[in-house]
């Protein structure tokens, strides 16, 4: 398990990470979202031992990451702009990494390259941005590490490739318990792959929750009543957000689904239905409750 405790990182006067405490459980996909400059990359660089924390700690299974070769050998870091050796080919990069990662599997790499249609002996310099992204993921998966840290890795991948990569992640998680940590500024990219999501903003972590927990605990209700306004009986619900257009009300309610249905039925609306919330909507709701305008933070609206 990766654990960050009161992790702080400063660049001069700028506090990039401010007392962040978070846990990344093994065999789960951890999504790290936040706007540009929120501190996602800094967090990953601290986790991967590139940056030395100015305060707090980052540990993997109780061992500090920074300058611990054995701990660093347990993860593979893919930066948002991955570097490849000059004039190298995918296979040469594989051999390069193979010298560092004892479990690096060249056969796996060859297989992956074939599956993704990447020429194994072509100079990487001639690859498109998307091909390089794919290659860096394939190299990371072939390294056989326990963790793979991806910084904006899905940016630049077309939907098909993105789906293929996600499938690979799932397969590796299934086969050998890989734990991917994926940073992105786009919540929609993480929605269908992450088990747990952390939201970073201005160096601090706004929330860190299991997606299932988030989805199960928050509901969206669209309902129409005979009278204007909400019936007083609905006051028993934990309504965290409400919106009305005439007699059509949209409510975001926190609580158990059955209990909510029972209350809704008791007030006899003309019409009501519970609509599943997207991850994006859940975040918007949760963070607005916390006093942040999530649309600006994540969606850029």
């Amino acid at each position: 398990m990766i654990e960050a405790r009161e992790l702080t990182k400063r660049f001069g006067d700028i506090v990039a990470l401010d007392n962040i405490t978070a846990s990344i459980r093994d065999r789960e996909v951890f999504g790290l979202i936040g706007t540009n400059g929120a501190g996602k990359s800094t967090f990953l660089r601290c986790v991967s031992g590139i940056y030395k924390p100015d305060g707090g700690s980052v540990q993997i299974d109780g061992r500090e990451v920074f300058e611990d070769r054995e701990v660093k050998a347990r993860f593979f870091f893919i930066s948002d702009d991955q570097y490849f050796l000059p004039n190298s080919t995918p296979l040469e990069m594989g051999r390069f990494y193979g010298a560092y990662y004892p479990a690096f599997d060249m056969e796996h790499l060859r297989k992956y390259l074939k599956e993704f249609g990447l020429p194994e002996e072509r100079k990487i310099g001639t690859f498109s941005k998307g091909m390089k992204k794919q290659l860096s993921v394939l190299l990371g998966l072939s390294a056989g590490t326990d963790y793979i840290l991806c910084d904006e890795t899905f940016d630049g991948l077309d939907p098909v490739m993105r789906q293929a990569v996600k499938s690979l992640f799932a397969r590796e998680m299934e086969n050998r318990g890989l734990t991917p940590v994926i940073a992105s500024h786009n919540l929609r990219e993480l929605e269908d792959i992450c088990d747990h999501v952390g939201l970073l903003h201005r160096g601090g972590i706004l929330l860190s929750r299991d997606i299932d927990e988030l989805k199960l605990g928050v509901h969206k209700i669209q309902c129409v009543f005979r009278e204007e306004g909400l019936p007083d009986e609905l006051a028993v619900l934990n309504i965290i957000q409400k919106e009305a257009r005439g007699r059509l009300h949209t409510l975001i309610v926190r609580g158990d689904e059955e209990e909510i249905r029972a209350v809704m039925s008791s007030v006899k609306p003309v019409f009501y239905e519970l609509i599943p919330l997207s991850l994006e909507e859940i975040f918007i709701t949760e963070t607005e409750v916390a006093g942040y305008d999530i649309k600006k933070l994540i969606l850029g609206e």
């Binding site: 940056y51 054995e70 004892p102 590490t145 050998r176």
Partner: protein, 724 residues
Amino acid sequence: MTSRSLSSENKKHTGISMGALIRQGLRGHMALLLLGLVVMLFNYPVNLAMRLTETSRNFTGLEVVHEAASAAAVEQEALSTIGGADGPTSIFVAEKQVETLAGRLTEEANQVLLGNATLIPLIVGVAALLCAFSMFRWTYSRRQTDFYQALPVSRGKRFLASYLGGFLIMLICYAAGLLGALLTAAVFQVQDLMLVQAVLVNAGYLLQFLLIYTVTIIAILLCGNLAVGVMSAAWILGVGPVLYGLIYALKTASFDTLYDPAGKEDLLQYLSPVKYLVEYTYYPNMLGRQPDLSPGAFARLYGETAPHTVNILLLSAALTVLTFGIAFWLFRKRASEGAGNALAFPKVAMPIRILTTVAAAVYLSLFGFSMESLPWIIFLALAGALIVHGLMEGIFHLDVKAVLAHKLELLICMLLSVGLACIFWFDLPGINSWLPKQQEVASVSIYAPGYTQDSTEAVSQAESYYGRYGTEDYDPEGVYEARYYQTNSLAPRMALTEPAAVEAALKLGAEGVRQNNQNSRGERLDYDSREYVRVIYRMKDGKVNDRDFYVSKDTLRELIPELFAMEEYKEAAYPILTVPEEAAGSFGFAPARNVEVEDLPGWEVQDDMYYIYYMGEERQAYGPAGDREEFSQKLLTALQEDIREMDYQELKEYFNEQQARDERTGEDIPAADRSCLVYVTKEEITSRSLIPEERYGYDYVDTYPILDSFDHVKEVLAEYGLSL
């Protein structure tokens, strides 16, 4: 395989080996390696092949003799030019040369192997910079920093791999070059190569490479950006000599009475590793002439230069270890986020800014010194500080809008610059007006080359011993260069303790200070009626104050004969006076133009003083046939007695006569009309015996014109059948 089993396997894995890391590093720098190989192959085997071919094609024994003679004449001419009217009167002796082609080829090959006929000093310096930047430039790239620092390798191991990789590139190229040279020599069937010396010399060059390479790495690691890194390297490699130059220029511009403005600040130059490389280049140059590698022989032949070279090497080695430790520490401490920034260690910014700003501003104010204008000095210091500080701010912030980022610091820099310039302008330390109290002075030296032009001719002859007798002046550049400075070598050797001498020195000092004050007030000195005099005051507390003054000629006319009459003055001026009889070297007799000794019975041309080239005129030295040891001992004693009795007036008349003749004939050959004794010291003879037969003979031979009063000398010559 499961995740857990993989993890445990990783933990057992010892990580990538150092060898693999270095190999990876080399693979990434193949272009540099190839460039190095090409340069070294041109520097060694190609260069040698061309030289050997040229030598073989042009060789004729006769021409070689002629060339050797010409070289000797040219060297003597250079010495005379540098010495000027007061210059050395030593005579260069070239031995008759009989060379073989094999000998010439061996000499050419040895010169190349020892790096003398190559560009190796330049290559070492440039290669150190290129290798350092090539191996550590990745630290300036955020992408590459992410890439390398995320890999499971400790920073220490990563540093060592990069460091050794750079060194290996140089080593491979160097070895290839030398091996190529050896193969070339074998193809040309060259024999008697100085292989041991070549290994030692080139190992020394590799050490110099390591020192510059390591210091450059420190400069690189302090920064996070290539352009700033290049400036940082230039700064670190140049700061010592630049500061030295600044202090020297300020002292020269301000302290008129200081004999040696360099002073101890000369040591500042040793802050730069380039200085060690430059100093070291003298070593192989001399070693090329030295077939015997034993320390004793080396010391005998090259005097004080051998220990100096050893010191340079030891210092280079110690500094390499020290700077390696600093570089290693910096690399481990260097934050990865420094990549892309101007500085990776922001704390060094302020001291570097202040030092650079103040030094540059004061440098600029030197134009004000040359204009002798205080307002200009202040203006230039202020403007210089403003401009340079702004430039530094812009560079460090990578933002031109940040030129006034630290206003208080700028103000301090301006005040420091103006203050420092004013300290020198107003001579606040009181250097120019300093004079000692008589009771504080232990001994003095007085040397007035200008006035005593008519007397120091004989003095400077005696001074040519300097370099063999080298006492106070340390001459790291070798005995040849020592000759160039010999006009001033009398002063440090002299230590007059007689009260009259001390009084004379104080009197000269007082007048010199007064004259200097007049000059400073704008009352220009009349240099036609004044002469330069160097006075050294050695204080009882051990301090030495070495001063230059301008005093009136009348003052010197009064003082010089008094000094000449002092025993200790004469002994200082003529070191031959203190040579014991048993340490006598070898004397010869060089007849004046109008003296014929061809038919002198029992005399012969001296084999070891075969040709004398003196101001372009060829003369021969003669000696009695057979063992000349007794002859030389007798002449030494006789000459010592004659010099002790020599009257200043006679010496002056002799040189007046010579000067009149020179003016009349335009020949400028003072001793041409008078027979001389020619003397080679015992040390010179010993050194000469170490040089192969085909090389030049004695480097220097001293001449003593035989004055009319030299009765003792004449008696000895008459005893051997030569009557003057």
